[in-house]
């Protein structure tokens, strides 16, 4: 298992956003998470990438505990420098890209490699150019984010995350902020990564994409995983009424 999340609970004040969720992702697996907005999908990703702290449960990366629940029932995280090490295992692609506007595309990809992972500039640039080539935007290396289309920006963001060589990459609705005609180019890149056996978890509303690319689909609603399994089964023959209801909205 690359990542394992057991009995995760998370609340914002009174609102319980995640109610005892457990799930794990194996190496090379592509998991899609679908569900209505407010179902806790994004929060789950943010907990997995340490942007939010869990209230209960445990998080393991590569079998090592990053967070666990102590005897008093409170979630405890490992120390700061160890957490840093866990952070390097995972990457996150945001809905809003969140590129650094004052850095060129190339620097967006190399800066963290050099400053965080202490690679040499040559090494970092080689990795960056290789990834930009793969994303089909090698010619944009010297451009600034504002000069790119949304689809190009998101591909830069994916390349930036990959440049850190994470063991697993999380996507938080990667195409939701894009114009419809630009979603294809981003989905194509993710599909390509799936073919290369990159371990990924994708929160998405692109049902045909989820069905075609993922090995497993999770349907979340109200802070719980309502149903999960093989994408064909979940999409074509959902067991739960709530799943059926949700999917009906997406049919035509």
């Amino acid at each position: 298992m690359i990542v394992e999340m057991n009995n995760i609970r998370k609340r914002f004040d009174k609102l319980e956003v995640i109610k005892n969720i457990s799930f794990g992702v194996d190496s090379g697996e592509v998991v899609s998470i679908i569900g209505p907005s407010g179902s806790g999908k994004s929060t789950l990703l943010r907990c997995a990438t340490f942007l939010e702290t869990i209230d209960g449960g445990e998080i393991l990366y590569m079998g090592e505990k990053a967070a666990y629940t102590d005897e008093s029932g409170k979630a405890v995280y490992v120390h700061q420098h160890e957490l840093h090490h866990f952070r390097s295992y995972c990457g996150l692609v945001f809905q809003q890209f969140n590129l650094f506007p004052h850095y060129s595309v190339l620097k967006n990809l190399t800066d963290a490699q050099i400053k965080v992972q202490h690679r040499t500039r040559d090494e970092a640039e080689e990795t960056a150019m290789e990834l930009l080539g793969k994303m089909g935007i090698a010619d944009k290396a010297q451009a600034y984010p504002y000069q790119l289309s949304g689809g190009q920006q998101q591909r830069v963001a994916i390349a930036r995350a990959l440049a850190m060589k994470p063991k697993i990459l999380f996507f938080d609705e990667p195409t939701s902020a894009l114009d419809p005609e630009l979603t294809g180019e981003v989905l194509k890149v993710i599909r390509q990564l799936a073919e290369e056996k990159m371990t990924m978890v994708v929160v998405t509303h692109e049902m045909p994409f989820a069905k075609a690319v993922s090995n497993r689909v999770l349907f979340m609603d109200g802070g719980v995983i309502v149903e999960q399994g093989d994408p064909k089964e979940v999409f074509d023959d959902p067991k739960e009424e709530r799943t059926r209801q949700f999917l009906r909205v997406f049919e035509r």
């Binding site: 945001f94 969140n98 995350a161």
Partner: protein
């Protein structure tokens, strides 16, 4: 008194005005950043102290503050204030401008979207790296117009040094005008302030342009 003697007499004052200006900026631009960061401290006590400081500084006249810094040590502790004039002046200016700059910085820092911090965190940047490499450069670009405003105000505020009888250009203009019964010193002072601010505008515009390589 001929115009040229007037000019050469006032030249020393102009130099002193420039001195106040430069020292105030050198002190208050960095100090303002420290104040802004303390204003956002997670400790309530520190936040409270800084808030009171900013509130008092903004709520009282700079002229009064200068008098307090200069005469305060004498009235409060009966210390000798010989040689204290210039230090008190600079201290008063720096503490005053730091408060204003702090609020400008704070506004700039708070205008940076949370996504920038989150992206940096996920990539593994430390808190210091995130601030210095990702946040601060964007803050500087955003606050340039407000900083320009404040710097221009400072050029004119240096004239408040006359309250402590410090012989900068405005004090001299008043003295010479009175002794020579001439309007000319005020014209010279006016032209000096205007030219100084023209230079400030020019310089700041260049900086803003240099930062226009991204949006």
């Amino acid at each position: 008194m001929t115009l040229s003697t007037m000019l050469s007499t006032m030249a020393g004052g102009m130099l002193k005005t420039c001195g106040i200006f430069v020292l105030t900026l050198v002190g208050s631009l960095p100090l303002g950043m420290i104040v802004a960061l303390l204003r956002r401290s997670r400790f309530t006590v520190i936040r409270g102290i800084v808030r009171v400081y900013i509130s008092v500084i903004r709520g009282t006249p700079l002229m009064l503050q200068l008098l307090v810094w200069y005469f305060g040590p004498f009235y409060l502790f009966h210390w000798s204030i010989r040689g204290w004039r210039f230090p008190a002046l600079i201290l008063g200016f720096i503490l005053n401008y730091a408060a204003y700059f702090a609020e400008i910085y704070r506004g700039g820092i708070e205008s940076i979207p949370a996504g920038q911090y989150e992206a940096a965190q996920v990539l593994g940047y430390s808190k210091t790296q995130t601030f210095m490499r990702i946040i601060l450069p964007q803050v500087i670009k955003r606050i340039m117009p407000s900083v320009t405003n404040e710097v221009i105000t400072l050029v004119k505020d240096t004239s408040l040094a006359f309250t402590l009888a410090y012989q900068e250009v405005f004090s001299l203009a008043k003295q010479i005008s009175a002794s020579q019964t001439s309007f000319m010193p005020f014209v010279i002072a006016g032209v000096f302030y205007f030219v100084a601010n023209y230079a400030v505008e020019f310089a700041m515009e260049r900086i803003e342009k240099a930062l226009n390589y991204y949006r």
